[in-house]
Assembly symmetry: none
DNA sequence: GTGGTCTAGACCACA
DNA sequence: GTGGTCTAGACCACG
């Protein structure tokens, strides 16, 4: 899986990493049980510090997306992925609200918004490898 | 309009402020041309630093949501609100993508997602004053 | 509050720090809402790296014992402390089980064990400041 | 005796192994003089590294729980089990203290704590073989 | 060779 | 001045 980071972005690198891995899981590129690169390999591959990768992995583990095995490395959680918890729903709503509010201000209708969501949804779930 | 800030959130206060004002505009609570409190008043009302309010106002102005006049104070942009620029569309997509990816991971269907979006859209546009 | 670390222990420093702070809260030495030293102050006071303190604080925040405010520093959670969750009960049992098993092997009766627990409980809740 | 290991746990495998064997002795499942599987057999049975089993056995021997004979293999110490030494008491207290402190923070009374201890004690000593 | 921990030092966002 | 992020480099526990 190809990781694309924007070093100029104000989004922290470890966050970008988390997002990319979650997208990889969502798109099916990364399947449950599949191994992820070791902290050091990934860090040197994408040219960042291993602590940054470590932080991303640790947070992904805490949220239940991956498992970090003692000395065997990191794998996508084979026991199924995190469920829809009330905390998650709260977080999701508070993330979506300002985005939707701004869209409304800029004159987007509800239908247009839903179309955008549908497009992105499709883009993720129909992503082809290496794309 | 009532501003609700969460001092424990990891979202910066100036961001929360921006979001709340944009939501106010989206809901119709704040109409084009309508005055906003002065930097000093708003800061003392909600008990935060002057600079924080200033930063929020400045960014809102940069994005075209408000106008700041030296003497007349701050008003919601009476000349219409910002349009849908390519930059905005990029920003919106990059914000939505990780949210949608996580939703997919947690087993939400596209329909469920769109329902959530519709709910939040409705919540914003049908908000009653003072609520 | 006095922090006592054992640099020779195989218990990680950040863990010892977490334990000491939790004990401080349990003993009433640290009350809800009370501020904790800044990351840098605490680090230099006890002669460790700020990242180590940061890790301890971050984990304590994740478990709900403290709040980390934007720029105002760290305080003991004023909204009440974490509750008894099923996850906590599982963790607690799996921590206690091997300790109790070893105690049994070494010939301790259930009454003796409970006495030890009572002693430690008393020691924590009746700790006097500076002791 | 059935060994249950959690490869995802952050408790080292050799520690889990030690705990399980001590629990086996505490429950009476493993009696003094009773033989334990050879390092090789146990390792291949539960699918872990030789060194891991070796480390567990070596530590158990150091603490006096088992004896390792060159030819006759490994047996539960027939000369009686380890006693209550001051070192053990220190270790036990330092293990129990943070657990009890957290329990207090989470609002458990001393009676509740002792009930938990009693439950686990009962669970260990009344364990039936093969359970 | 793997992740975990710790140190040291730097820059930035926030208020 | 506060915490947040990132880098660099080191040692250790684990298997």
């Amino acid at each position: 899986m190809i990781i694309q980071l924007d070093m100029q972005s104000d989004v922290p690198i470890y966050s970008q990493l988390i997002n990319q891995i979650i997208e990889g899981i969502a798109s099916g590129e990364l399947k449950p049980g599949e191994p992820l690169p070791s902290v050091r390999n990934l860090a040197s591959d994408i040219g960042i510090n291993l602590h940054t990768v470590n932080k991303a992995y640790t947070l992904l583990k805490q949220e239940g997306f991956i498992q970090i095995h003692r000395q065997r490395g990191v794998v996508v959680n084979p026991d199924g992925l995190p469920e829809i918890t009330p905390e998650y729903e709260d977080k999701r709503s508070s993330q979506l609200k300002p985005i939707i509010a701004e869209a409304i201000c800029r004159g987007m209708s509800q239908e247009q918004l839903q179309q955008i969501v549908a497009d992105i949804h499709h883009e993720i779930t129909h992503k082809k490898k290496g794309e």
